[in-house]
Structures are given as structure tokens and as C-alpha cells.
Amino acid sequence: MTQAPALEITDLRKTYSNGTEALKGVSLTVQPGDFFALLGPNGAGKSTLIGILSSLVNASGGTAKIFGVSIHEQRSQAMHLIGLVPQEINFNQFEKPFDICVNAAGFYGIPRAEAMRRAEKYLKELRLWDKAQHPARSLSGGMKRRLMIARAMMNEPKLLILDEPTAGVDIEIRRSMWQFVTGINKAGTTVILTTHYLEEAEQLCRNIAIIDHGSIVENTGMKQLLSKLDVETFVLDTSELPAALSDVDGIELRRVDDHTLEAEMARGHDLNSLFAMLSDKGIMVTSMRNKANRLEELFVRLVENGSKQENAA
């Protein structure tokens, strides 16, 4: 028997009371076990979509099913399947992390003894156990984010939704968070992630949807999406550059400063001609890197196209 999709959204709409149309008929499918990126600029409709899935926002139309369970008709069963890590801190700052986790489990009907066992397990896995009995308000920003992940894991959800969980978190903590989330994804939990750090989405996610102005503008595999990127820009650190440089066949060169050169070319273009030209001129290349995150380039293009179409309409 085929397993139902982890998430199946059909023609989901939301118009707020002030007339803002946040979602304009979004349809989306996420397969079980996926690590799925939902990207979009601020105000694109990501949080509204997540709000509807977690029942914090009432949809104006359309349907959404979690593993085949309708969030509207069988809300209680559907909520058992979801874990939510929201964008904003939303726990009682006067409570202790251990109590916050145990109470969260209680709302899912998990008996206290089991809730305490899980709280210890996830607080330890997220390196918060030494802070378990401290007031939550005393935790650092990164610790608060990790606490919300631990809390979301208390019902051991089949679908974990992370809404910009690494906003304002330093690199080391971000890495440890992703290590944890990647681990639970490998263990079978479907993960949906929204983030502003696009390199995270590129590294972690297998599939991606880009939402803009309340509509899905792209929904595909990460590899397929990145293969659409037809131009790449490399930054080369060099020995001293001459004042003027002529373009090499198919490669557009830009002199940034005396020791930095940018080379833009079609994806897959032969770089040998560039190195040959630089070598002929006695210029030594000391290092080379991609100018921008590849996904970021695509993201900007898709969103810019969307805005142009919106304005034209």
C-alpha cells in the first residue's frame, strides 16, 4: 500500500480581515521522509501557510492533509502528527526548560513519567540538560531556539515544521541544531524548513518550494532547481592585476581591485582558457571561490520575476 504524502495541500487560500490575500490557492505535496525547504521573501506567505498547518491561522479555503489526515476535519488526529518550531519565542519565560517540555507533552496526552523521560532525552540531545532547571528567561537566544526544538519533539512528530529556527543563532549552534535535525530526518521524521540562510536549504534539503506573493513560483528537487542556474560567477584572488583586462572567449571579466578579479561565465564553461590568459600575463591565482550561494542567485531571480509579473498585472 502506498503511504499518504506527509503533507498534501490543495488550493489553500487565506485572506485576512484587512483584505490582505496572503495565500492565493497554494498546492503542494511533501513526501514522507523528505527534508523540504519552503523559501520566500518576507511577507510571501510562508508563516501564514505554517500557521494554517499548525491551526494557529484559520484558512479561507482549500484543504490540507498530514499523512492523509485532514487538519480541518480531523484536527485532533492531525495535530498529533505535527511538531512546530515557530519563528517567535513562545514559551513561558518564567518556567524551567524541563517543565516546559513536560507540560508540552501533557498537551498531547503523554503520561507524565514518559514525558519526563522524553524531556531528559531531548534536552540532552540538544545540549540543554545542564540548563533544564534554570528559568527559561535566563537562556541565551540560541538555547531558546534549541529549547523550542526539544519541545516540538515531545510528541515525537512524524512531520516537524521549522520556521526560521536559526534566525540570529551563531554558526556553531546552528551546526549542532542541523546535526540534530538531520539525525531525526534520517530516522524517518519528515522535515519542512523555512530559513533565510539559503546555503542551509541547499545543503540540507532534497526538495524545495519557493513562495512569493502568496503563490508557489517553483516546486522541484533541489538538484533540478540548481541545474537551472545557467550562469556562475567566480571570485579570484590574484597577484597584482594590470589596469585593463580584456574578456576571454565566453568569460566576462571584472576587475574588483588590484588583487581581485570576478569572472562570469556560462555554467560548465571551460576555465582553462581563463587560467591560460592569466598565466600568459604573469598573473598568479592564489585562491578561487563561488561569488554567491547558488540557491541565492536562483531565489533572487525567481522572486524578481514574480515581482515583475505582479507589477505587470
Binding site: L56, V57, S76, N90, F91, P111, R112, R151
Partner: protein, 259 residues
């Protein structure tokens, strides 16, 4: 026991435990000030002023005052507990912990109501214990005393919940207690019998729902009342059902909580 029933029971116990822990954690705000206020009322109105007053309905004024002061604390603390607790949950957004969970609306409402009743009734018991330092304790009808205290506490917990749902800032949870609840309580027969009032104040007083609750409780303790006990129960039941239904409707629709 069904799976759903067990789940709901765990969720209910979780909310009630959290509410009780909150009351205990901030005991210096939740338990001590009302006890001090009640003691001052006993000293000033009961001992200093009351000693110059005639008996009321056959009881010394101090004894007559006890049920009124107990009800006053039950009303203000049941109401105040839920407004500060539920509005705090909204303000810090941790109400979302419950809203995103499978916990049904009636369980969330019941949990908060029970929490508020625990505080209201605890304060009622504390005031009763303090009163024993000033007068002997009478309980003529224990069942009426207990049910009236519980119903009143429930009604004002529900009213406080409705207030907290609509409140958008802290001022909004202070307005009703200051401008509605306190005047109605003071004019609701806590300190006097409405038989002592002339017209039109006697008739006007009958429009005050707190009058019915205070008198039912006084009937339970002392066996005297300005109001027929059946009418008092009907008033309390009416408010409990109406406010309970309204509270559930607000929670179910997510008014003030969901977009």
C-alpha cells in the same frame, strides 16, 4: 477508559498543575495580599466600626460580615487569577503551545477554570480561618455553602476568561475589576443587608448578580438571606451556563488568539 478520555485527562491535569504551580510560585502576590486585606476588613469594619452597630438578621455584625468577606475574596481572586494567567499566556504567546496541540477547547477552558477556582476557594478558606480569630464560625448548611462558593468561583473565573480573551494590553485586564467588579462587590450585600436600604436602592440592588451569590453563601453559613435561595441558584446557574458557552465559543473560534 477510551484513548481520547485518557489523553484529555492528562492534558487537563497538565493545565491544572501548571496553574497551581503558578499560584504557589508567586504566593507573595496571589495568597498573602488578599489575606492581609481581609484581616484589615475584619479589624476595621468588624471590630472597630462593627462594635457600634446593631445585630443584623439576629447576628452580631462581625459574624454577619464573615460570609460577605469570604465571597469577596473568592470573587476577586477567581477573576484575577484567570485574567492574569490567561492574558499572560497570550501576551507571551505560550497559549500557542495548547492551540497547536490536539487538546480540545473544553479541556483548555476547564483547566484554567479549575486553576482559578483553586485560588479563589483557597483564599475563601484562608479568610474563613482568619475570621475565627474574630468570631465563632457558623455553617448552617454545609452543602449550600460549598456549592455556592464553587459556583460563584466558577462564574467569575469564566467572566475573567472572557475578559482575558478580549484584552489586548495589561490595562484591559485592570479596567473591569476596577470599574465593574469592585463596585458591584461592595454594593452586593457584602457589608450590609439590602433590607436596610430604602427604595429605589433596594430594587436597584436586585439587578446586581453578586447580591444573589453573597446572600446564597450567607444563607449557607448563617441561615439568613435577603434573597430566596432557589432564585440565587438560578442566577448562578444562568451565568455559569451562559459564560461557559461563550468562553467555549471564543476558544473554539480562536477569537483573540488565532488569525
Amino acid at each position: 477508559m477510551s484513548h481520547t478520555f485518557t489523553h484529555n485527562l492528562v492534558a487537563l491535569k497538565t493545565i491544572v498543575r501548571r496553574e497551581i504551580m503558578r499560584i504557589v510560585r508567586i504566593w507573595s502576590q496571589t495568597l498573602i495580599p488578599p489575606a492581609i486585606t481581609a484581616s484589615l476588613y475584619f479589624i476595621i469594619f468588624g471590630t472597630v466600626i462593627g462594635s457600634h452597630l446593631h445585630n443584623v438578621h439576629g447576628y452580631p455584625y462581625m459574624t454577619y460580615l464573615v460570609p460577605g468577606l469570604v465571597m469577596m475574596q473568592i470573587i476577586t481572586n477567581s477573576y484575577g487569577n484567570i485574567t492574569s494567567s490567561f492574558f499572560g499566556a497570550k501576551f507571551q504567546r505560550f497559549v500557542e503551545e495548547m492551540l497547536v496541540s490536539p487538546t480540545p477547547s473544553w479541556v483548555i477552558l476547564s483547566g484554567y477554570i479549575i486553576g482559578a477556582m483553586v485560588r479563589g476557594l483557597t483564599l475563601g478558606v484562608i479568610v474563613l480561618l482568619i475570621s475565627t480569630a474574630f468570631t465563632s464560625l457558623h455553617v448552617e448548611h454545609p452543602l449550600i455553602t460549598l456549592t455556592t462558593a464553587m459556583l460563584t468561583s466558577m462564574v467569575f473565573a469564566l467572566a475573567g476568561f472572557v475578559n482575558a480573551v478580549f484584552a489586548k494590553k495589561f490595562d484591559d485586564i485592570a479596567i473591569v475589576p476596577s470599574f465593574v467588579l469592585t463596585p458591584l462587590t461592595y454594593l452586593g450585600g457584602v457589608f450590609y443587608s439590602i433590607d436596610q436600604l430604602g427604595e429605589p436602592w433596594h430594587t436597584i440592588s436586585l439587578a446586581n448578580p453578586i447580591l444573589y451569590m453573597v446572600n446564597a453563601f450567607r444563607y449557607g453559613m448563617l441561615g439568613v438571606s435577603d434573597i430566596h435561595i432557589g432564585v440565587a441558584y438560578a442566577v448562578m446557574a444562568f451565568f455559569a451556563v451562559t459564560l461557559g458557552g461563550f468562553g467555549l465559543f471564543l476558544l473554539h473560534r480562536g477569537i483573540g488568539m488565532r488569525s
